[in-house]
Symmetry: C2
Subunit: 110 residues, 2 copies
């Protein structure tokens, strides 16, 4: 983990970032943004979440630098700012995907 002392402050900062990804709703939003930048309304449709809910999650992700925004007229477009997110998910899946694939419980027929 680099050659840097893991002070309790640094551990808290790392934990804070993990916490942002520790929520299905936010992972869902980030995954929707993987394809393209999207407005809050579009994200509401794709994720089936309420407006205030999506907005709140986006504020959190924006505050931590996971997403950027761009206002255009009446709409606000959000886009990924940290592609490492999916690298993290891939690693996190790892054995998870293996197990799931074997059990064939979570995926549609392939």
């Amino acid at each position: 983990m680099a050659d840097i002392p893991l002070t309790s402050e640094l551990l808290s900062l790392i934990a804070e970032r993990f916490k942002a990804l520790a929520e299905p709703a936010r992972l869902n939003i980030l995954n929707a943004l993987r394809e393209d930048e999207k407005t809050v309304s579009q994200l509401m449709e794709e994720t089936s979440l309420g407006q205030a809910n999506v907005s709140k999650h986006l504020q959190l992700l924006h505050g931590l630098g996971f997403v950027d925004r761009r206002k255009e007229g009446l709409y606000v477009y959000y886009r990924l700012a940290d592609p490492a997110v999916f690298q993290l998910c891939d690693i996190m899946c790892g054995r998870l995907v293996e197990e799931a694939r074997e059990r064939n419980e979570l995926f549609s027929a392939r």
Copy 2:
């Protein structure tokens, strides 16, 4: 993120694993286990956490497969079971470490 459909169930499973790392106390424990396997008592000393607290965190980490245990006499030795944890932290640090290094706020003099 692999070529696998991200069902809501899978998103929940991924989020659950991120949540395990979204806590300074657990990151502290995992980091202590990086050097070597250790007993609950040793982990209590290194992390300055209460006994029941350490035990509870270890149960959670064990349930998700992040750590393994080995009972020897009166002691229980815990060890890392998923080295990917630190790979995740490294990535998660990324820009975080950069920013911190520049501000020189979080690290002792180097």
